[in-house]
């Protein structure tokens, strides 16, 4: 069936409906980008409360939060996570996307790490790089939002921000700072409106993922089991003095 016929049938049926309850649609933000700026200023003042809320919920869903003072401390924290678990290889987002260049430091400390390119590469090279991610034990990404209400990390894909880094390795480590903190899902709604307002920045990818703890299933006798397809462990590293990240 084609579009016109499909919609015509819908209109015809809609026309036959009678006695429908009055119902108003949701009011959408008129200027989402400006409103997001206002929200960010508000959040900047309340970040310690947001971080405490995020920590509580993130731990409730099985995440582990690490707090470091400076961007320089990120790599040692990740190395410690990898060592404890005998992990051999890592992949990471591009330094510009992450806001800190971790790959050289991780590699120097005995965790060979492949950083993502932010250039367009041909299909064969993409496949090769995906295989590298699939063979890695640990994936380092940024987090564009950290949501206090739910303990959720929101991750936007794009150039230098491969989706596989938070999906294929058994351990995912997300690095973030106070700018990513928001309080509620309602605020996330506003952020999503702003991100989709106007044309996207050239680096923006086609996938936004909310990650709330490690991959899990209860499909066999309702026994909670972690790491069924995605990571078995999720860590978040909060950098107090901030990252030099470009924001989604």
């Amino acid at each position: 069936m084609d579009r016109a016929a499909f919609l015509a049938r819908i209109r015809a049926e809609m026309g036959r409906a009678t006695g429908l309850p009055a119902s108003r649609p949701t009011g959408r933000p008129a200027r989402p980008r400006e409103q997001l700026d206002v929200l960010r200023r508000e959040m900047a003042e309340r970040w310690p409360e947001s971080l405490a809320g995020f920590k509580r919920e993130f731990e409730r869903v099985g995440g582990v939060l690490h707090r470091v003072a400076d961007a320089r401390d990120v790599a040692p924290t990740i190395v410690a996570i990898a060592r404890e678990r005998g992990m051999q290889r890592a992949v990471a987002w591009h330094a510009d996307a992450l806001g800190v260049d971790v790959a050289p430091a991780l590699t120097a400390h005995g965790l060979p790490t492949t950083a993502a390119t932010d250039a367009e590469v041909d299909p064969r090279e993409r496949e090769r790089r995906r295989a590298v991610a699939a063979a890695a034990d640990l994936g380092v990404t940024g987090a564009d939002l950290a949501v206090a209400e739910t303990g959720t990390l929101v991750v936007v894909s794009g150039a230098g921000r491969p989706r596989s880094a938070s999906l294929l390795p058994t351990c995912h480590v997300a690095v973030f700072d106070r700018e990513a903190l928001v309080e509620s899902l309602v605020q996330v709604g506003l952020v999503l409106e702003a991100w989709h307002d106007g044309s996207p920045p050239p680096w923006r990818g086609a996938s936004i993922n909310f990650i709330t703890g490690p991959s899990r299933t209860a499909d066999i006798e309702l026994t909670l089991t972690r790491g069924v397809h995605g990571p078995r462990e999720v860590h978040a590293v909060f950098v107090e003095r901030g990252l030099s990240s470009r924001r989604a």
């Binding site: 809609m14 909310f210 991959s215 066999i220």
Partner: protein, 473 residues
């Protein structure tokens, strides 16, 4: 396509479920757990009730301008480089997906859990066309290996023990497996990881389609939704037209109640927003993105008696609280969608003819309406379905005859009173203690699983008449 389990009448299917002691225990544990988790989730969330009202109002407002929102969705998906297809029937939807698969040269398709593709029986069609469908949700994977159908909307394999799953993996995958969920999950992870990386085609449903941004939203706990939408070269999403919502602001409302209702989580582990095909600089993402808009009986209810059911989020909360579902489980219903909402959806997809038995598989207790995150009045529509089944004379003739006679009697008080007096005499051989345990002939069906109270020695009307006489004295 015919549903094999429909060859036996509902009563027999239900009877079989009632005699299955493992199923009884599994159902009881699972549904009780889901009920508790849901209750806790909403107890710690004071704004929950107001959000449920808001969510329902959004659904209603969206249906009232469905054409507009679908047009926005279509335009925005196409603006992002996606392709939109239109399926009036299950058959059209299957043909569209097969066509996409053929042009992609696909030999294997990985699927994330989707009731819409179950509804159109896509797997059989893919297999017949030489494309191997692989279900990747662990529960769906298990029942696919076992050649069964889901028994619960969100926990498709709750009817299986870990021992049965271990045997199944040993037999079908040739891997010796202990009956330990942890071990079994690891085996499935390894098996399916290979498939994700090899498959040419990824097939999903859609929990929401956001009109103003052209975004398809998928909610999963395992991460298979992310795999299926990121790794294969082509992604097809099959979405019922009623799944469209206007904006991201609305999405935030639905996300706040969906997982709480389904599993008691504040959010499911993964909520994936798909904004079309891969963009420049991305390492992953499909080269092609297709959205199939599915009618299959939905549009006909925009002005129909089942309109309210178009608000359903497929969370499964009404199954868990339903005293009938809790006893018989999903398979006994015999259709894609089980439970109270399943009866309505089955009638929507296949016509009220198809639920002439199922329309009665409810005690009308109203627990489903209480649990529904968008407050669908399921009992009201079940009663309407029963009326429809009765008016269209598709109920069994014995039932129609008995109720016809009763209706006729009730309208004639003198005859009714006479019948009561006669009944009092006729019932004598059947009264045991204070109840009738068995009545003769076809009426025996009534007392097969329940007792009948006998006609009282003095009826209410007789006593009332006496009291009135006394009062006058």
């Amino acid at each position: 396509m015919s549903e094999p389990s429909l060859d036996t009448p509902f009563r027999e299917r239900a009877g079989r479920a009632l005699r299955d002691s493992f199923l009884q225990e599994a159902l009881s544990i699972a549904t009780t757990k889901f009920i508790d988790l849901r209750r806790e989730a909403f107890a710690g969330f004071p704004g929950g009730d107001a959000l449920r009202d808001r969510a329902r109002e959004i659904k209603e407002a969206t249906l009232q301008r469905l054409d507009h929102h679908l047009e926005r969705l279509i335009d925005n998906v196409e603006a992002r480089g996606g392709h939109v297809h239109y399926a009036a029937t299950a058959d059209e939807a299957r043909r569209i997906v097969l066509d996409v698969a053929r042009r992609a040269g696909a030999r294997m398709a990985v699927k994330s859990k989707s009731m819409a593709t179950e509804e159109i029986h896509l797997n059989e069609a893919l297999a017949a066309a030489g494309v191997t469908p692989v279900e990747t949700d662990l529960g769906e994977y298990i029942i696919q290996l076992a050649h069964e159908r889901p028994s619960h909307i969100i926990a498709p394999a709750i009817h299986k023990t870990k021992g049965q799953v271990a045997e199944l993996f040993t037999r079908e995958l040739g891997r010796e497996a202990e009956p330990d969920p942890e071990v079994l999950t690891r085996i499935a992870r390894a098996e399916l990881r290979e498939k994700f990386l090899q498959a040419d085609l990824g097939i999903t449903g859609a929990n929401f389609g956001v009109a103003e941004t052209g975004t398809i939203v998928l909610v999963t706990n395992e991460g298979n939704g992310r795999m299926v939408t990121s790794l294969p070269r082509v992604h097809v999403a099959v979405m019922g037209v009623e799944k469209v919502i206007p904006s991201m602001t609305d999405l935030a409302v639905f996300l706040a109640i969906l997982a709480k209702s389904a599993t008691g989580q504040k959010l499911s582990v993964y909520t994936s927003l798909v904004d079309g095909p891969r963009r420049g600089g991305e390492l992953e993402g499909p080269e092609e993105f297709h959205l199939v808009l599915l009618d299959n009986g939905r549009v006909g209810q925009l002005a129909g008696p089942l309109r309210e059911a178009l608000a359903c989020l497929r969370c499964g909360a009404c199954l868990n609280v339903c005293p009938v579902y809790r006893q018989i489980g999903g398979h006994a219903y015999g259709h894609t969608y089980p439970g109270p909402i399943g009866i309505l959806l089955t009638a929507m997809l296949n016509g009220s003819e198809s639920v002439r038995e199922l329309a009665h598989a409810s005690s009308l207790c109203g627990a489903c309406a209480d649990a529904c995150p968008v407050r669908i009045d399921i009992p009201r529509m079940l009663i309407e379905l029963r009326r429809d089944v009765s008016e269209r004379r598709i109920a069994p003739w014995t039932e129609r005859a008995v109720f016809g006679l009763l209706g006729w009697l009730l309208q004639r008080p003198p005859l009714y009173r006479a019948a009561a007096r006669i009944g009092r005499v006729l019932q004598r051989p059947f009264v045991r203690g204070a109840v009738i345990r068995r009545v003769p002939l076809f009426l025996g069906e009534w007392t097969r699983t329940r007792d009948l109270p006998p006609i009282a020695a003095r009826t209410f009307q007789e006593r009332w008449a006496d009291l009135e006489r006394e009062g006058r004295r």
